[in-house]
């Protein structure tokens, strides 16, 4: 009798432990999904900010009217890639927009008139803010994947994941640059 009770208690503890781990991993998976959407939100926000930014810059110089067109084109590529689920070309397009952003910052440095404009100053803060938010949302996304992968692969948790593999076992890709881009960025040198 005593043995049965002890076994029952142990079974109950194991059961609740199992549920606890299951729920924890579900939360982590949803956090990853939400963090991925957060990147989309920031990308969308950036597009709108840059449009208004380029409009301000245009007033001061004929700063490559094509830039706006470039942003729009890259944006179109990114959206198309998102719809077709092609992560790689989407990331490439978004990185293209990032490069335009750093060029814009350089333009600010070169034109004192522009630097003095209060609107433009606010917009410059806006560029930094926008790029930071985007970078940090990517970082948060990768962090949540790290947390999930570490949990998934540790002992005990891995048993639970093995038992409910269809609901708990996913392979999320870290947000990263494509190989050839990494090489290009590594070899990049500032020309003065």
């Amino acid at each position: 009798m005593k043995a049965i009770i002890i076994i029952l208690i142990i079974a109950a503890i194991l059961f609740f432990w199992f549920i606890g781990i299951y729920n924890k991993i579900i939360h982590q998976i949803e956090a990853i999904r939400n963090n991925k959407k957060q990147i989309d939100i920031q990308l969308d926000r950036r597009y709108k900010v840059f449009e208004s930014l380029i409009n301000v810059v245009k007033k001061y110089m004929n700063y490559e009217r094509t830039t706006l067109k470039d942003v729009v084109a890259l944006r179109g590529q990114a959206q198309k890639a998102t719809q077709s689920g092609d992560e790689k070309s989407r990331m490439a397009a978004e990185d293209g927009i990032s490069k335009i952003a750093s060029n814009l910052s350089l333009v600010f440095e070169q034109y004192p008139d522009l630097k003095a404009d209060k609107n433009a100053l606010q917009l410059q803060e806006e560029i930094v803010d926008t790029e930071n938010k985007l970078a940090f949302s990517k970082q948060a996304y990768n962090d949540s994947i790290e947390k999930y992968n570490a949990t998934k692969k540790s002992f005990f948790e891995s048993v639970v994941v093995g038992a409910c593999s269809s609901k708990l076992n996913f392979d999320f890709a870290y947000w990263s640059l494509p190989e050839e881009d990494i090489k290009k960025q590594e070899e990049y040198k500032v020309k003065l």
Binding site: K133, F136, Q139, A140
Partner: protein, 344 residues
């Protein structure tokens, strides 16, 4: 201005693990002491200090043959006290300061807008669900603190001096430090420890006066001596122990928040620069800041929560027993944990 050099990479993951372990140790010790005090009270209530009675009552309590009502009551009081403290705490923390709230729509100057942006950026990096409330304290000294018992009620307050004297990335590092306090649950933790220690000290005080004044009648029975000795010892040693434990806890959590700041920024330089600047600024203006801290009421409420303890710069807003020790590790030690070495 002192210089600093990076001596090793900042391993924030390791820092987090080390200080988490320290925290578990301190909190475990706290709960043990709390239970021990309750147990002592139960022993006293069941006359366990009468001669020959001790082992019997001790065993009966330990095996739960006598229900330890005093311990249970103390537990209940702790829960109620914690609830009340949590509910009132975020408003208490700003007591005595002149402050105003900053939102995305009420930011008046570009600086305030930048502050709001920086907090929002760090919120995204930490993937917090709620935007913390931001308060700007109208003071020249450079300091910042976080409060709130959950993500939802979290607030970050920084002084105008800090906002104006730090550049964007340094400000960001300070905000990341404060947000890390919030996401690590430090406010809840230190509040719990301080509420528990206050209750403990009150209970020991009650026991002390009971033992002294009730001691006469007990002594006639010949059993009070042991208790009186223990209680007198406790009354003078326990406050020191709790203060030391609280300081140890608070320092461990500071290291953790520093590591958390590096985790969010992925860069240890901005925080190091910010800490150096804040420390230097306090030394340069120690006279005027002494006055300003002194004029702000209830400064003692915020001391442990600040990113920089004014006492490190020999500015002592409240003279008390705890002022002998800083709630924070020294700037040099914090920089060392971040991988830097100060050279003058």
């Amino acid at each position: 201005m002192r210089n600093y050099t990076q001596t090793k990479a900042c391993d924030w993951r390791e820092q987090l693990v080390i200080n988490k372990r320290k925290t578990i140790g301190v909190i475990g010790l706290f709960i043990l002491i709390y239970l021990a005090i309750g147990f002592l009270l139960d022993l006293y209530a069941h006359n366990g200090f009468a001669p020959g009675n001790f082992t019997n009552v001790f065993n009966a309590l330990f095996t739960l043959k006598i229900i330890p009502w005093a311990t249970i009551t103390m537990g209940g009081i702790a829960i109620v006290a914690l609830y009340v403290t949590f509910a009132l705490h975020d408003r208490l923390m700003l007591l005595g300061t002149k402050y105003h709230k900053i939102t995305s729509t009420t930011a008046k100057t570009p600086e305030e807008q930048q502050l709001y942006n920086v907090v929002e950026e760090m919120k995204i990096a930490a993937s917090l669900r709620y935007m913390p409330k931001i308060y700007l304290i109208d003071a020249d000294y450079m300091n910042a603190f976080a409060s709130g018992y959950s993500e939802k009620s979290a607030l970050i307050a920084i002084t105008r001096g800090l906002m104006q004297k730090l550049n964007r990335s340094e400000l960001q590092a300070v905000i990341a430090h404060e947000l890390s306090h919030i996401r690590h649950g430090d406010i809840k933790l230190t509040l719990t420890a301080s509420v528990l220690s206050s209750i403990m000290l009150i209970v020991v005080d009650i026991l002390f006066y009971n033992a002294i004044f009730g001691g006469m009648s007990n002594r006639r029975q010949g059993g009070g001596n042991k208790l009186v000795l223990i209680v007198i010892l406790l009354r003078y040693v326990l406050p020191i122990i709790t203060v030391l434990l609280m300081l140890f806890l608070s320092r461990a959590r500071e290291y953790m928040a520093d590591a958390g700041s590096v985790e969010l920024m992925r860069d240890n330089h901005p925080l190091a620069r910010a800490l150096m600047k804040i420390g230097q600024d306090h030394r340069d203006n120690s006279q005027s800041y002494k006055k300003e801290y002194g004029q702000t009421q209830h400064e003692d409420l915020r001391r442990a929560a600040y990113i920089f303890d004014p006492i490190d710069a020999k500015i002592d807003p409240v003279v008390s027993f705890t002022s002998l020790f800083s709630t924070h590790p020294s700037i040099a030690k914090r920089l060392r944990a971040l991988g830097f070495k100060i050279s003058s």
